[in-house]
Structures are given as C-alpha cells and as structure tokens.
C-alpha cells in the first residue's frame, strides 16, 4: 500500500484516547505498528506513568528515553517513550534556560513535586510539550526524525482538558515562559498535523463517552480523528435466527438434528437437551448483537471515519497486535 492513500496522510501526531477498558493502549500500539509498516519510523509515547506500553509489548518497564521496541511488517521501526513529567521538567529547564543546577535544587525543595503533581495544567503542558517536540524534531539534513508520533493519551473524560493546554494555563500564566511554551504546544496540537482518535466498544457507555468527547473536542476546536471500534465479534448467525432468538422464539429442533448429525449427541433426548442449553447462548448472543447494531448506528451520528478491530480470541498478545495493525492498514487508517 502506498503511503499516500490513507485516511490520515499529513497527520504526524496521532492522539489515541478512549474510555477505560476499551483497549486504548493496545490500539495505540497497533496503530504505531501500522504507521511504521513499509520502512517508516514511528514513536509511541505514554503519558500517564502506567507502563502500559511495556505490558502490551511484553518488555521490561520503559525508561525516560526513546528506544526501539518493535519492528513493523515490511521493515519499519516503532520506538517507545514513557514520559515522566518530572524528568521532562528538568530537561525543559536545562534546554531552555541552561539551568541544570537549578533543576536539581528545585527538585530538592519540592518544586518539581509541586510543579508536576500539584500545579494544575503544568503537568499536562510538560508531557504534551515533550510529545510535540518529538513531532517537530528534525535531523541534520532537516528531515523529520519521526514520520509519525502516536500518543497513548489520558481517557476520554479528560482528553479535551489535557490537550487544551493554553486554556488550562491561561488563568495562571497570562504572559511569561509557561504561556509561551503552552502556545507552542497548541500550535502543533490544534493543527491539521494532529488527529485525536477515539477507541470505543459497541456498548452504551463507551459510545456515549465517545460522542461526548468528540463534541467537546470540536467545541475546543481541536482536530477530531477517527473512531476505532475495538473487540468486534463476528456475526455468525443468519438474520432469521437472530430475529427469532431476540424475540425469545428460537426453535431448537433443527439444531438438535444437526448436533446428532455431527455426532455430538447420544440419542435424540441428549441432542434435544444440548440444543436447548445452546438456545440460551443463542438468545443472549442475539440480544447482544441487536444492542451492538444500535450502538453502531449511534456512532454514525459523529460523522467521522470508523474502523473495526476484531476481538482477539487469545487476548491482546504480541501476535494479536500485529493482527490489529493489519486490520488498521486494510481499512486505510494507516
């Protein structure tokens, strides 16, 4: 696939958010793999200190240092970085003010603790600042070091506030270096070079949160990306069966015959009893399928590109990540 025919050409910062439990980190990792495919270089960053990326890739905890974590299909590298706000602050002080010693002294008396955990907004500016620095970074020949940066961002409920850094620090720092830094970050985050993607499940609460999140991003004039519907189960049963089962009206007769033919039952009575037990499973599946269809319709309201990722039978292991990356590429998201 050419690098020029995906839905997000021109986007260099992919921010991935989602309600807890939707598989946000897994999808961010798979997206990074997909974007790196074909010889590109992608950085995957983590901002909440949970070491979720290390768990997904089954590696030891990540340090505050960009290091190669996986090789993409057809050659391509995924680097990973766990951003530690305090380290980012020290780096920032050193880089912009040349104050290495001051940084150490500030740490000692608790300024760092204060700035990164107590002072509202500052922490967010630091981690988004470090991320956007990686997006903008160029090598000696003037080329961008990373073709794309993928951020495993905070959950949907906090995403707008997290990205809306200028607003967050506006009340605090109307002028001065913090304000200047926030403006720089805003320049990247609010530009067409950024897309904020949502990970959802076909369940009421995650879908509602996704729609609310999209609305609040739009209100803040931040760029909305696509919706990744995760853990999608295949629809195995024929429509007529689903309809009947959803109405609690499934006739297990045909199933009993089939079970007998398959050699799974010991006589007619046994076949009937297994078929009746399975009927309960079918009814549940039918109700669940109807709910999923309704939720898919509801997600349509957002009018953004949607991608569907299959439920991984063995859970999200390393092989599963590559499977998801393939699904992402096949649907044109990367």
């Amino acid at each position: 696939m050419s690098a020029l025919d995906t839905d997000w050409d021109g986007v260099r910062l992919h921010v991935v958010t989602g309600k807890g439990g939707t598989g946000k980190t897994t999808v961010a990792a798979a997206l990074a793999l997909a974007l790196a495919a074909g010889g590109r270089k992608v950085l995957l960053v983590e901002v909440e200190g949970r070491q979720g990326i290390a768990q997904v890739f089954d590696t030891p905890p990540l340090p505050y240092e960009e290091r190669k974590i996986a090789v993409a299909p057809d050659g391509g590298d995924v680097y990973a970085l766990a951003i530690d706000p305090e380290e980012a602050m020290l780096e920032y002080i050193e880089m912009f003010y040349g104050l290495k010693r001051a940084g150490k002294a500030l740490t000692k008396i608790g300024v760092m603790d204060f700035a990164t955990t107590i002072a509202p907004g500052l922490r967010d500016v630091l981690v988004t600042g470090k991320t956007t620095e990686a997006v903008r970074r160029r090598d000696k020949s003037g080329r961008r070091v990373y073709d794309a940066v993928v951020m495993d961002a905070p959950p949907t409920g906090r995403i707008t506030r997290f990205l809306n850094v200028t607003n967050e620090v506006a009340g605090l720092a109307r002028i001065g270096p913090v304000k200047h830094h926030a403006d720089l970050v805003r320049g990247v985050v609010a530009s067409p070079e950024t897309a904020v993607h949502f990970v959802s499940l076909l369940e009421e609460m995650p879908v509602q949160e996704t729609l609310d999140g999209i609305a609040s991003l739009r209100e803040a004039r931040l760029p909305v990306g696509g919706v990744f519907i995760n853990m999608v189960r295949p629809e195995l049963l024929p429509e007529a069966t689903l309809d009947a089962a959803a109405r609690d009206d499934f006739d297990p007769g045909e199933l009993a015959l089939g079970l007998k033919a398959a050699g799974l039952a010991d006589g007619t009575a046994d076949a009937t009893s297994i078929a009746e037990a399975l009927a309960g499973e079918i009814e549940e599946h039918a109700r669940r399928t109807m709910l999923e269809r309704r939720e898919r319709e509801t997600l349509n309201e957002a009018a953004v590109p949607r991608y569907e990722l299959p439920l991984l039978a063995d859970g999200a292991d390393l092989a599963g990540l590559y499977e998801l990356a393939e699904a992402i590429r096949a649907q044109g998201a990367a």
Partner: protein, 380 residues
C-alpha cells in the same frame, strides 16, 4: 481432596454478610477504569437499602445513565433520595462536585473577605477544577463529611478513575506534604515579611532557587501562587490533620474495601496491585468482585470438540445453522476458559482473598431492576 492440586478455589465473598453487618459503615469500591465500579457501588447501595440499611452512595462518575437508573434526572453534590427502593431501608445518591466541595471548605473555614480572596484567585480556580489530585482529595473530604454527619449507617463510595489506581490514598498525603513543605515556606515568605520581597531575606541558596523559579514560571504566576498560599494558610491549619483522620477512618474495622475487576489481564493485574497496596496500608479488604464473567449453559461441550464438529459439518455441507451455532459456542467456551485462567492467576497469588463473580448480562443496566439484578448476581 485430589482436586486441590489441580485447581485453586478462592473463598467465596459473602457480600450480603458485609451489607448486613451493622459494624460496617463504609464500603469503598476501587478498581481500574471501565470495570463497572460505579455500577457495582450503585447495585450494592440498592441491595443494602432493601435489606434495611440507611445508605448513601457517593459516586465520582458523571455518567447520566447511572443517575437515570436510580430514577434521578441528575446527581449533584447533595444526597438525593432514590424512589422505588423496597423494604425498610433508605437509599440516597449523590455525585461529587469537587469544585463545589472545595469552595464549601473555604467558605466554612475562612472569614468572608479572605474566602472571597481565595475563591477569586486564578491559581485556586485552576487547582479546584482541574488538578488531577483534587478529585481524590475532595472525595475523601466528602466521605469524612458524610461520616461525621451521622445521617447514614452505610456510606458506599466509588473511587475516581485515577491515573494510577490508588491516587485517592496518596493524594491527601501529597497535598499535605506540599502544604507543610519547604516550598510553601519560601512562597509564604513575602506575606510574612509584610509584602517586601522575601527572596532578599533568604540565604543565597534560596535566592538562587527563587530566581530560577521566577525565570521559569514567570513573575505573575509566582505572585498568584504566593497570594493563594498566603490566604490558604489561615484556612487550612487543619488540612493535613483532616486528611489523616479520613485516612485512619479507612483503616478502621468499620470500613470494607471491595476491589472491582473484569476477568481480563489488565484489570486483574490492577486488582492484584490494589489488593497488595491495601494490605500494605493496613486497609481492611472484604474481597474481589469480578464483573462480566462469561459462562456457558452447555459447559460439557468443549471448545475443541465444538470447533471440530463445526468444521466437519461445514466440509460435508448442510446443517449450516448447527455449524454456525457450534462456532459461536466454541468462541464462548474459549472466552470462558481465558477468563478462568485470569482468575486462577489471581487466586494463586492471593489465595485468601474472597471472590464474588457477576455473570455478564447481554444488555446494559437502565433502571432499579437492573441494579437489583446485579445485586442478586453478586450475592448468588
């Protein structure tokens, strides 16, 4: 006797015994995001009330659906009665409004002039509405208030979906450390020196640091913080003390922690971490609730046999429906087996922690009946 080696069985969590114990006054539901913590808290509230207790559920989750399931159009910072609860007890529900709670503390502890100074300070406004630890602190503060009010004999609280799972335990300590720390003394200095620049009064080391801070943060930012801290100092004499009281309350035998999880790797790993942390902190753990567990009504038909039979039917042709149903069943059995493995991992590491399972329901909870149903599953 022989099964002990092959399969570990955790003790069953008897949730009704916890709900019925008059000595239990606080139940804290904790767990990672998206595992159904808030729904569990609400379901426990309904069940406890219907078994005769005067219950208030304090939630931090702004989900409208949950309010609606309790027949309330919306939840706010005041406990509202839930109508339709059967039996002798009572149920109230409320949602934490952290800014409102913070404002109320200020208003209750400062004279009107000083209170206004604080409430209007831009640093305060940011701190009270967006600092990620404020929610945890205010949840604990509210819990303490509800407990002191003495109007309820059972308070059920769910915890904020924090960055790290136990922020609600750490945040008060962190805030206290900050307010008592050296930094505060530096920031406070101007107020104490009658408005003159305090930095001059400090020794050279501090002067150097202060200079760096001014350079990095900007003078205005620093001034706002100084004003805020100065005003706050008078108000928050008992800040840390109250945080410590609430912390002790959580350690007391009248509290029961319920760790909530889903039978997935990440959620179970978080649950393990919770259980360990709670033990370290000396917090009383009632047990683990595992939500959304899948089982099958036809457990004797294994995933492998089911899949093989489906393949066989498909290759022979005919019986398409049966083949599809067998595929469905194989997937279901596979999922159940994976969930079971996750539980076994947990049980191996924490063999004494009681466990209750809640079977997955095909649809979401919409009303009191749904919450009641969860309560039944939880205690089945």
């Amino acid at each position: 006797m022989t099964s002990r080696r092959s399969q570990r069985t955790s003790p069953a969590l008897d949730m009704d015994a916890v709900l019925d114990d008059p000595g239990i006054r606080i139940i804290v539901c904790c767990g990672s995001g998206g595992v159904g913590k808030t729904t569990t808290a609400a379901a426990l509230g309904v069940r406890a009330a219907e078994r005769g207790r005067r219950v208030v559920v304090l939630t931090v989750d702004p989900a409208r659906r949950l309010a609606q399931s309790m027949g309330l159009t919306e939840l706010d910072n005041t406990p509202r009665p839930v109508v339709g609860v059967d039996g002798p007890g009572e149920l109230h529900a409320m949602m934490l409004d952290m800014k409102r709670t913070f404002d109320e503390i200020i208003e209750a502890h400062a004279d009107p002039v000083r209170a206004r100074q604080i409430l209007e300070n831009p640093f305060y406004q940011s701190l009270s509405s967006s600092f990620s630890g404020t929610q945890e602190y205010m949840a604990m503060e509210k819990l303490g208030q509800l407990r002191r009010a003495g109007e309820w004999d059972l308070i059920i609280v769910d915890t904020p979906p924090s960055r790290s799972a136990l922020d609600f335990l750490d945040a008060p300590e962190r805030l206290g450390r900050f307010l008592d720390g050296r930094l505060i003394r530096i920031l406070m200095a101007p107020a104490k020196a009658g408005g003159r620049s305090a930095f001059k009064l400090l020794n050279a080391g501090f002067g150097f640091v202060a200079g760096a801070m001014t350079k990095i943060l900007g003078a205005q930012f620093l001034k706002d913080i100084q004003m805020f801290v100065g005003a706050l100092d008078a108000v928050f004499g008992g800040f840390r003390q109250r945080a410590e009281q609430t912390y002790k309350l959580l350690q007391a035998p009248g509290t029961a922690f319920v760790v909530v999880a889903a039978p997935e790797r990440d959620a179970m790993r978080e649950a393990s971490y919770f259980v360990e942390r709670l033990a370290e902190e000396g917090m009383p753990l009632a047990g683990l609730v595992i939500n959304r567990v899948h089982t099958s009504p036809a457990p004797a038909l294994s995933a492998a046999r089911s899949a093989a039979a489906a393949e066989d039917l498909e290759s022979r042709g005919g019986h398409e429906l049966t083949a599809a149903v067998l595929r469905l069943h194989a997937g279901r059995m596979q999922l159940a087996a994976r969930e079971h493995r996750e539980q076994e991992h947990f049980a191996t590491a924490h063999p004494t922690v009681p466990i209750a399972q809640v079977l997955a329901m095909p649809e979401d909870v919409h009303d009191l009946n749904g919450l009641r149903r969860i309560g039944e599953l939880l205690t089945a």
